[in-house]
């Protein structure tokens, strides 16, 4: 089971990392979501015990580790907040630059800087 879980974490993480390298900002966001999914899965899998849900456990029953669950919840919530913020950021980039492509953005920025420098020379 450990190999399988590690393998699944690895595949999810690798797919996320691959998407992070894309010029399309939406794919970058999806990549970040995948990477944080991989992290939460790794966290959950590192629980020390597996068994019944830790809700009103009876005496002697094998119970799943509640600590990793609480930590995972925190991680998921923060990951969610970050993902939504990134999404808003991408939307904002679209409204001010009319593109969501990193290559086009850096070209536009280079043009803008060259323009600024030209203006400065003129001044």
């Amino acid at each position: 089971m450990t190999v399988l879980t590690a393998g699944v974490v690895a595949v999810i993480f690798g797919s996320g990392a691959y998407l992070l390298l894309k010029p399309d900002l939406f794919r970058v966001v999806v990549g970040i979501v995948l990477v944080s999914n991989a992290a939460t899965l790794a966290l959950m899998a590192s629980g020390l015990s597996r068994g019944d849900p830790p809700i009103a456990p009876g005496a002697g029953a094998e119970v799943s580790d509640p600590l990793v669950q609480a930590m995972t919840l925190t991680a998921i919530v923060i990951g969610f907040g970050v993902a939504v913020l990134l999404l808003a950021l991408v939307y904002r980039i679209y409204t001010s630059h009319s593109t969501v492509d990193l290559d086009e953005l850096s070209q536009a920025e280079a043009r803008h800087e060259a323009e600024l420098e030209r203006e400065q020379v003129e001044v």
Binding site: P53, I55, A56, L73, V77, V84, A88, Y91, T95
Partner: protein, 146 residues
């Protein structure tokens, strides 16, 4: 896309979703769920209204403009529960009643400061998600009708 059927379903689902959220919230201490989930569920219910009716009609019917206020109130409530005990020298996030003290029940709901803390989380998540949805819906609406 927003036909009569969508509107009817959205209208029908609003109250049950909110009740579900409330249930998840108050039962969080004794069963599955917590303030965060409840907040997202309630937020989804409001999101459905936006999808069905558009932001102008939603804003007329639901108090969505108070969203940020609700969120800040939630944050304030959580902060208060966490830090007010410092005033009498207890540690931060000390909950009452203390262990082994008697808990007041209202039906099957237990009255605990920990639940108040969760209510704060709920209000924050609800307010924030409705606020974000409203922002996006406005942006969409304004783009369509400049």
């Amino acid at each position: 896309m927003t036909g009569v059927l969508t509107e009817a379903v959205a209208r029908l689902l609003l109250a049950p979703s909110l009740i579900l959220a409330a249930a998840i919230l108050v039962k969080g201490y004794s069963d599955v769920g917590d303030g965060f989930t409840a907040g997202v569920v309630a937020g989804l219910a409001v999101l459905l209204q936006y999808a069905a009716f558009g932001y102008r009609r939603v804003e007329r019917v639901l108090p969505v403009r108070a969203a940020v206020g609700v969120a800040l109130a939630g944050l304030a409530l959580a902060l208060a529960v966490a830090f007010v005990p410092l005033l009498w020298g207890a540690e931060a996030v000390t909950h009452y009643p203390r262990p082994a003290e008697h808990v007041v029940h209202v039906g099957t709901v237990e009255l605990l400061t920990a639940v108040a803390f969760d209510v704060g989380v709920f209000l924050l998540v609800l307010g924030m998600s409705v606020g974000a949805v409203d922002a996006f819906a406005r942006a969409a609406g304004e783009r369509r009708e400049p």
